[in-house]
Symmetry: C2
Subunit: 454 residues, 2 copies
């Protein structure tokens, strides 16, 4: 593999200085990990549960965590033949024993229940899993994680800094994180990229020329075709694309971030200046200069995790844009913001109003039966301005049902296909606010969102 040397060493060092865990941070994390491992074992013994193995996984276990992220993943592994129900009961029982020493504990639920605790300031997930023979025989998605650990750990040794650089670089470009809100790169994916390309530099150079369909298959064992923009075959499972969650736009944003970075390598690509919240005056000034129509659909934030909420919000964004288009409004762009209490689907339109008159084109005059039906229906209807023939077709100028986007949304939003929790929340009440009324939303995080939006 070719090695590029275009990125100043000092820049990398300056970045690492800010993101690489210090000796004491490292030591503290290792101590806590061991402490917790012992507690899990002790709890299993106390509860008389045999055959439990404790596995430390994730970036903490692999030495690839960014300084300041205090996440520890501890997997409580049961024999493969354990019945699912039993695994859940016993796993959670052990986790809850451990939680007795924690500052805070919270039941969570992915494919299985698991326990999230705050322990001495660390954010710890205690996750029951099956101990299967290989990653292709997993019984639950989490069973895969220990295999990832086994693959990465020996291969990343000595290149942990490269992973840290890539992670922070992706964070700076807004593409780090594989949650459904971000649809970016997962930590495991960055590690595989470093293993494949050898270094941060090589990855950045390579990505500049990526095209959708880019495929990386370290083990050369790919079995099926994938349609995602980036395909990185899981070394532990030939059927799985590790980059399946990466959206086309995040894929492209990363390419763009790499290209711009190589033009002028700079600390700001890792640590962009934080955006200030938009002031009321800035909102008004921007409305005046853009002269488009800004609408926000505001409703109570549904009480669900982001991985459930955001797919529903993105779906809503699409559905609302389709509704507006169906009724002749021209959407410039759509966006989604969600805060603790309120959520807003943002819409920018060419105009929030349309004329009362709407041109309704019917069938060609010579398609006799259809044409006659069409004409009969409209020439006697209420609110018809007039009719004529254009390009051989009957055309009626009819009264537009929804001359304002606000009116349309107020009347028809509930008929859009919305996800369960979003539907519930919207059904309880929503508000359409327009242009200057948007100043009513004061949350600082929303105002930061607005700075990018407008």
């Amino acid at each position: 593999m070719e090695t590029y040397t275009g990125i100043p060493k000092e820049l990398k060092l300056a970045v690492l200085e800010r993101i690489k865990p210090s000796g004491s941070e490292r030591e503290k994390l290792l101590t806590i990990q061991e402490e917790l491992a012992l507690q899990v074992k002790a709890a299993a013994e106390r509860l008389g549960i045999p055959d439990v193995v404790v596995k430390m996984v994730g970036s903490a276990a692999r030495g690839t965590w960014l300084s300041g992220t205090h996440d520890i993943d501890i997997f409580i592994s049961f024999p493969e033949e354990t019945p699912r129900k039993e695994l859940e009961t016993m796993g959670m029982a052990i986790a809850k024993e451990v939680a007795k020493h924690a500052e805070h504990a919270e039941d969570r639920h992915a494919e299985h229940p698991y326990l999230n605790i705050i322990y001495k300031g660390f954010d710890v997930d205690l996750v029951p899993c099956f101990r299967v023979a290989s990653a292709s025989q997993i019984k639950s998605a989490v069973d895969r994680t220990p295999f990832h650990n086994d693959f990465v750990k020996p291969r990343i040794k000595g290149r942990e800094d490269e992973v840290l650089l890539l992670k922070q670089f992706m964070r700076g470009g807004g593409v780090y994180g594989s949650e459904l809100k971000t649809q970016g790169f997962s930590g495991y994916l960055t590690e595989l990229l470093i293993i494949h390309y050898g270094s941060f530099e090589n990855t950045v150079y390579a990505a500049c020329s990526w095209k959708p369909g880019e495929k990386i298959d370290i083990m050369q064992h790919s079995e099926i075709k994938h349609e995602e923009p980036l395909v990185v075959i899981d070394p532990t499972d030939p059927k799985r694309n590790v980059a399946a969650a990466l959206s086309l736009d995040k894929f492209c944003m990363f390419i763009d971030h790499c290209r711009e970075f190589l033009k002028s390598p700079d600390l700001s690509f890792f640590f962009p200046a934080p955006l200030l919240p938009f002031e009321d005056s800035e909102i008004l000034e921007r409305l005046e200069s853009r002269k488009s129509a800004q609408l926000a659909i505001v409703f109570k934030t549904p009480d669900v995790v982001e991985d459930v909420l955001f797919p529903q919000l993105y779906k809503m964004e699409q559905a609302v844009a389709a509704l507006l288009k169906e009724y002749d409004f021209t959407v410039i762009k759509t966006g989604v913001w969600s805060g603790k209490t309120e959520t807003a689907v943002m819409l920018e339109l060419i105009s929030g109003t349309l004329p009362n008159v709407k041109k309704h084109v019917g069938p060609p005059v010579w398609v006799k039966i259809h044409a006659e039906k069409f004409k009969e229906k409209y020439q006697t209807a209420d609110g018809v301005f007039g009719g004529y023939i254009e390009n051989g077709k009957y055309v009626f100028e009819i009264q537009r049902k929804y001359p304002t986007a606000k009116g349309l949304l107020e009347d028809r939003l509930m008929s859009c296909s919305l996800g369960k929790q979003v539907h519930q929340s919207v059904n309880e009440g929503f508000e359409i606010i327009e242009n200057a009324e948007i100043c009513r939303l004061k949350e600082s995080d929303f105002r930061v969102f607005l700075r990018k939006w407008m």
Copy 2:
């Protein structure tokens, strides 16, 4: 041929009573025709021009003129071998001799020069032509007319009333007249329809089921393929479609007129109530209820005949609509009105203004060279609001060049492809007036046009 009897006889009689020339009208016209024929012959003799034959053609000669239309067509026919230049000189010399007895004379020009005179209140065209052996060997378009006369006259005998009914019915439907302004049915075409279908009723019934491509070939001698909506092969020329000038919309309007008429046969289909000019208050009321944007491009009416002017105006209509569309304005409809002094191209738009911001979509990020060029161009350009990636493509929000339709037209109208005389006139000056400003156009005929338009 099936004969329908669904149209009340009394209705036809009532129509004929108003349109059929009376005995005295007929007599007067015949007298004038003979008088003029003698004068043409006398003039030819006086000027020493041999071998001149006088031919009475047109509806006056065939007894199919509508009462009150005082048009006489007299063809001055020269031997085929006469040189073109000579025919023009001698023909016009004879015509000008005749014109000495006329109230008024005016040189006109189609393919050849001809003379239009007012003679005892009649509108007379004196047209020099070649005496060719058959209509397929004509040297000039007018040479065909005597052959039409020879074909129609013996076959229409006894069915003149049917022709009159059909002509008046078409007039009532706004589809009579084959000038380039109207693009409807010519007199000769109505006569052929009656010869083919046998009667007014039969024609109306048949037309209800016409489709584009409808073909009538009385002599069964068609030689080439025609693309026009209605194809009526000229019985005197197997290559010619008599209905070539009929537009698709006029074809459809006639079909529609026939269908509506048969639903409730009524005098109004022949004599629609005249439209009253739109008052200022009506214009304002209609603007308020439609809430669309009305624009008029107003300029001095070019000093050319309608057959030259209207094709240019229709072309302008298309060009202006394309220009507006290119700059993101949505055209509801376009129209053309031309009066003695002023001409207006009318435009109805969804809105006459657009936001300042315009979304400019570039190439996909992965098409590296193009994408980089695009980005470079826009990220440093003036008046760019911002950029982002959407569906894998760079998008920049740029300053719209023309946020108003009026500004666009004022700046770019002259770059549209306009016909010669219209271009000249527009170049001398034009004005874009909007909405209520349209009240400034006071001509009664324009106000009648507006009643249909709005």
